[in-house]
């Protein structure tokens, strides 16, 4: 039985200690809430020699607002982020997304860092050991064939964290700490378009915080997701949008998606609507841009064509709502 392999649990009190404990051994993994990591350990997908628990590190537990900019520690829980009225008022998409992750019990201890660094997901990967073994495993783990696209050598497992798009439209950056020291990168650069290796973190590097600048004056933002059960599930598609309008014209418009590609990303090519009214034609064009750039594959029980339509529809609905409110 694969149920809980042997490993050591470290509970460091500082980020420096955490990084030192993780250095040098790729089989040492970070643990935050454990709502994804422990599931994957139980399924035999993760086999760590040691876990470094980040939940007792004070530096990672704060939400600060300084000169209009937001800084969220990696160990802040989703429940705390969703309930913070300062966040909901200014970075609405971020609060809405935090409140839409999983169910209330998961949000009570699942963290921001764990959500940003969530493993990619696929119908053929997030299964028990016996399920995967009877399917000859898959390209992402122990196998040689991708059951989603058997001809190729690419893994299409999808990034399904809800928080990322709301942060991407707000130009967030992430503070990283690793054996090489501290650095700050745009959040978009944390991700790669490869379901097998989707995080651009160096070996032993961790996320310490995410920083979100003040949005442009008058900006409105929001997050919408589609899921099988409204109470608990991962997104089949998730869309965050930000709109600034003045005198009926859009002066800024940003859209980002999750749940449809290995890499969450901003939608390109919609700047052309700046300076124009977001009328039906513009909304249709935004929907088409989202549909074309989303490339859902058969990684969920729900058909790719449906997810492609839904992600476009969600984007259109959300942008229309933000433009008219």
């Amino acid at each position: 039985m694969e149920y809980m392999p042997a490993f050591r649990l470290h509970r460091p009190a500082s980020v420096e200690e955490a990084v030192a404990l993780a250095a040098g051994d790729p089989a040492v993994r970070f643990l935050a809430g454990g709502t994804d990591m422990v599931v994957n350990i139980r399924r035999g997908i993760e086999r760590p020699t040691a876990l470094v628990d980040l939940s007792a590190i004070p530096e990672l537990g704060a939400i600060d607002i300084d000169s209009g900019a937001l800084r969220i520690g990696a160990a802040v829980t989703l429940a705390r982020l969703a309930a913070d009225p300062r966040v909901a008022a200014v970075w609405t998409a971020v609060a809405e997304a935090a409140g839409s992750v999983a169910g209330p019990t998961h949000r009570a201890y699942g963290t921001v860092g764990g959500n940003l660094c969530l493993d990619t997901r696929c119908l053929y990967y997030n299964q028990s050991e016996w399920w995967r073994s009877s399917n000859d495993y898959c390209l992402k783990h122990r196998g040689s064939v991708c059951h989603v696209a058997p001809g190729g050598k690419q893994c299409f497992a999808v990034f399904s964290g809800d928080l990322t798009p709301g942060l991407l439209i707000h130009d967030a950056t992430v503070d990283l700490v690793g054996p090489g020291g501290r650095r700050t990168i745009p959040l978009g650069d944390l991700y790669r378009d490869d379901g097998m290796d989707h995080l651009a973190l160096a070996a032993g590097e961790m996320v310490a915080a995410v920083r979100v600048p003040a949005p442009p004056r008058g900006a409105r933002s929001g997050y919408l997701k589609s899921r099988v059960r409204g109470s608990i599930d991962f997104p089949l598609a998730g869309v965050a949008a930000l709109v600034v309008s003045s005198d009926g014209l859009a002066t800024d418009i940003r859209v980002a998606v999750t749940g449809v590609n290995p890499r969450p990303h901003r939608i390109r090519g919609i700047d052309v609507h700046r300076g124009h009214a977001l009328d039906d034609n513009a909304l249709d064009a935004i929907r088409e841009a989202v549909r074309t750039q989303a490339k859902p594959m058969k990684t969920t029980t729900v058909a790719p064509w449906y997810r492609r339509r839904v992600v476009g529809a969600l984007a259109r609905r959300l942008v229309a709502r933000l433009a008219s409110s």
Binding site: L9, T35, T105, H106
Partner: protein, 156 residues
């Protein structure tokens, strides 16, 4: 690979030597013998294993026992006083919020966490607050009525 775990479990301090990879749910059920906390899935899906840690709901099946160092853990066994059921337990019984009963310890602990944080929830708050718990029997309506009834009794 072992830790001395010191915590407060259902009102009493305890010290136990636990392996680092022991799940809280196995600690509770196997090491302590508190089998009220149930295991209904292979991790995080069903909510049967919900306990309160420092007053907040948490899945015992996704929590490492050794990570509960210094915390206050409450399980379904903590709720009765002197053989008398708590208001939430009584409401589940009287309003038919339990059928087979397998989800019930997790449901009751989720309701306990909800009512401590929000003593006067409306129906939408209850639906949101109980959304991580799955029941295959009741159809949820009776569970929502039970939580409403308990809330009225605790905070009229």
């Amino acid at each position: 690979m072992k830790t001395v775990l010191s915590l407060r479990l259902n009102g009493r301090p305890r010290d136990d030597v636990v392996p680092d990879n022991l799940l809280l749910v196995d600690y509770l059920r196997e090491a302590v013998g508190l089998t009220g906390t149930k295991i209904g899935c292979d991790g995080g899906e069903c909510g049967c294993c919900t306990v309160l840690i420092d007053g907040r709901p948490r899945h015992a099946c996704l929590t490492l026992a050794a990570a509960c160092q210094g915390t206050v853990v409450e399980t379904i066994e903590a709720l009765e006083t002197g053989g008398r059921l708590s208001a939430i337990q009584r409401a589940f019984h009287e309003k038919l919020g339990a059928q087979c009963g397998f989800c019930t310890p997790g449901m009751v602990m989720a309701a306990e966490g909800l009512l401590r944080a929000n003593p006067r929830p409306n129906e939408a708050d209850i639906r949101d607050g109980m959304a991580a718990n799955i029941c295959r029997c009741t159809g949820y309506v009776k569970i929502i009525e039970a939580v409403e009834a308990a809330a009225r009794e605790i905070a009229p």
